[in-house]
Amino acid sequence: MDITEYIKLVFTDYTLRTITLGTAILGAVTGMLGSFAVLRKQSLLGDAISHAALPGIAIAFLITGSKDSNTLLIGALISGLIGTFWIRGIVTKTHLKSDTALGLILSLFFGFGMLLLTFIQKQPDANQAGLDKYLFGQAATLVESDVWLMAIVTGLCLIVMLTFWKEFKILLFDADYTKTLGFNTRFIDILITTFIVLAIVLGLQTVGVVLMSAMLLAPAAAARQWTNSLSTMVFLAAIFGAFSGVFGTAISASQDNLSTGPVIVLVAGVFVMFSFIFSPNRGLLFKQIRFIKNRRDLELHKTLAFMHHIAETHEDISHPHTIKLLNNFQGYTRSTLQKLVDKDYVQLDGNMWSLTKTGFEAAANLYTKQSTEDE
């Protein structure tokens, strides 16, 4: 199936439409909440939570015996929350650092979950097949009710976010100040964390335990590069997330043997890479260009100062000198010289250069005035 056929199918085929919608909504909600996780320096919390959700799924299945995704997700939510608050307990009450706490909870809960899953699989009676889809996720198993659930949670999350926008924002950037203003920081904190856990749990069925953290991080990290405003960042992250979901689904549907989860993650990764390189303010490319430009400017100043130094020794400041004089001087290139000419600081005549009056004055004031107007 190629891409055009895929686009046609999205509108006609039930399964494909459901999956595409599901991954798009999922990407949007995780991107939105991921922005908070990234800014709160809790990027890896998502990884820990998604792993910690596994035993909850298994226990929910053991208790209810049903494979209904909503039941299992409630189990996942509870065990994810327990994991989160245990991490917090370890960090605040002991001297273990947050990385250790995250790694601990992640691996211990996951291991316990695996123990339960294998235990379930060995049970003779259960119709246990399909639980392991939560490991790597199977977008193909999404049905309309799952998408509805996602949409409802996303809507809820939007409402809460808009209601508590001010509180979220202030807690994010200045927790102490928030406290002195009399906000219940603990409540806001728990609210954000719960929604992050909720978003992660929602994604387990689609992208799975292992890759869920990337869904949370990547759109937010990409969005962060384009803006310094929280609202724009959240908005951008939601868009990046949604597009990763849609493109990822499209690519994996148009190829054989491609699971959706990893493809979505890779697409999100491409967004991140693109943002890292090409974002105008923070991006590596423009940073490098600015760096080179600054160096050029410095060298231009150096050349000018050097010319001034020579011209000083002559009575006539515009006495011509050969360009060769500048040759073993680092700051000299044809283009920088041309720049000086453009500014009317220097006159060129064949192989000779001479300072103009303006050039001489500019050079004389170069280091005293610390002028910034010339680039």
């Binding site: 990027s43 890896l44 002991t94 990385d99 250790t100 991080l217 990547a218 491609l258």
Partner: protein, 386 residues
């Protein structure tokens, strides 16, 4: 106990020891999550290595995969250095991407590769004894035993040779650098050992258990001691205990050995977390409660010292004026009486001589912050133990 069972326990124990050593340093250097990242991102290395060698235990595959681990570390550090995102975000971005590449590589070649993602993540210790190493036709034991044994031997040798350097650079980077040990070499050395250990062990126990075996024993040990050698020894013993005990739990439940070892590790950590003598959660909560009471006591004594009026020193006043609840007021009064700092006459509280001296000393200490004056009070009060 059959021969295979013995071999499984031996392999698990060796893996536990091999993981505990780098794990201890990772925990101390606050880089525990790097082990998680490495354990995931070695997947593409393993897959590519497997295409080339067609043998999961080949040394070339281990080296290739370990190289992916190092690449992860370098990538994370590069992204971090650009300052575009924080370190934890960098980790969180790199390993899922590499892991996804691995998963896709496996899926695209599913027909020609006998390798599935579950096996990489979870391992299957139960099958380890069936893959024998034959040298000149003689069976010398399971392959993974040899692989893990070799890695452990190398790790131990490096640990003994560079113990001093590791110790100094872990606790004081600046000092290590000024003494002439390159922090970079030690850092990447440790990362290489962690990578090689992860790769060497994943086949036997899976990537997640490797993380658990690296972090959990070290974290539990760190709650019990602050001595590096003791911590290493404790971490190793926790690891071995969980490996052996976990095997029997799995045997009894007929479930995944890796999962059950991790669960036992979790229980061990939980016990230590709750009951560790001075850093466990119960000890910490008790200390915090005690400190709160002692602060109240001090406030109370100061109040008594400052007021001669009878009504200010009436028992009921405690509750009315200082606004304490009944239970709290009683605890404070009891504590003060037990220490002979106050006496109560007709519900009027007065300071004894001891109480008066104590209060003066405490004020002195609070104002001057000099340690020497309160040496004799430290034994009775948590508050002054720093």
């Amino acid at each position: 106990m059959s021969n295979a069972q013995l071999e499984i326990q031996l392999i698990a124990s060796l893996v536990a020891v091999a993981c505990a050593i780098p794990g201890t340093f990772l925990v101390l250097r606050k880089m525990a999550m790097i082990s998680d990242a490495i354990s995931h991102s070695i997947l593409p290395g393993i897959v590519v290595g497997f295409f080339i060698t067609q043998d999961l235990n080949s040394p070339l595959l281990i080296l290739l995969a370990a190289l992916t681990g190092i690449i992860t570390v370098v990538l994370v550090e590069y992204i971090q250095k650009t300052g575009l995102v924080k370190e934890d975000t960098a980790i969180g971005l790199v390993f899922p991407a590499l892991f996804s590449i691995g998963v896709i590589l496996i899926a695209k070649n599913a027909n020609d590769v006998h390798l599935d993602v579950d096996a990489v993540l979870l391992g299957e210790l139960a099958f380890a004894p069936f893959d024998r190493l034959l040298i000149a036709g003689i069976d010398v034991g399971p392959k993974s035993l040899w692989v893990v044994g070799t890695i452990l031997l190398i790790t131990l040798t490096l640990l003994i040779l560079f113990f001093k350097e590791l110790k100094v650079s872990t606790f004081d980077k600046g000092l290590a650098a000024s003494l002439g040990f390159s922090p970079a070499i030690i850092h990447y050395g440790l990362m290489s050992v962690a990578s090689v250990t992860t790769v060497g062990s994943f086949d036997a126990v899976g990537a997640i258990l490797v993380v658990a075996l690296m972090i959990a024993p070290a974290a539990a040990a760190y709650l019990l001691t602050t001595d590096l050698k003791k911590m290493l020894a404790l971490a190793i013993s926790f690891g071995i205990f969980s490996a052996i005990f976990g095997y029997w739990v799995a045997h009894w439940l007929d479930a995944s050995i890796a999962g059950s070892i991790t669960t036992v590790l979790g229980l061990v950590f939980l016990l230590v977390y709750l009951f560790a003598p001075s850093k466990g959660i119960i000890a910490v909560m008790y200390r915090e409660k005690q400190q709160r009471t002692e602060v109240s006591l001090l406030t109370f004594l100061l109040h008594l010292k400052n007021h001669d009026e009878l009504e200010e020193r009436h028992v009921n006043h405690l509750r009315e004026h200082i606004n304490w609840q009944k239970v709290r007021a009683k605890t404070v009064l009891d504590l003060a009486q037990k220490n002979n700092m106050i006496y109560i006459e007709k519900n009027i509280v007065s300071l004894t001589k001891k109480g008066d001296e104590f209060t003066s000393k405490a004020i002195d200490y609070i104002m001057t912050n000099e340690d020497a004056q309160i040496e004799d009070m430290k034994d009775d009060f948590f508050l002054f133990r720093g």
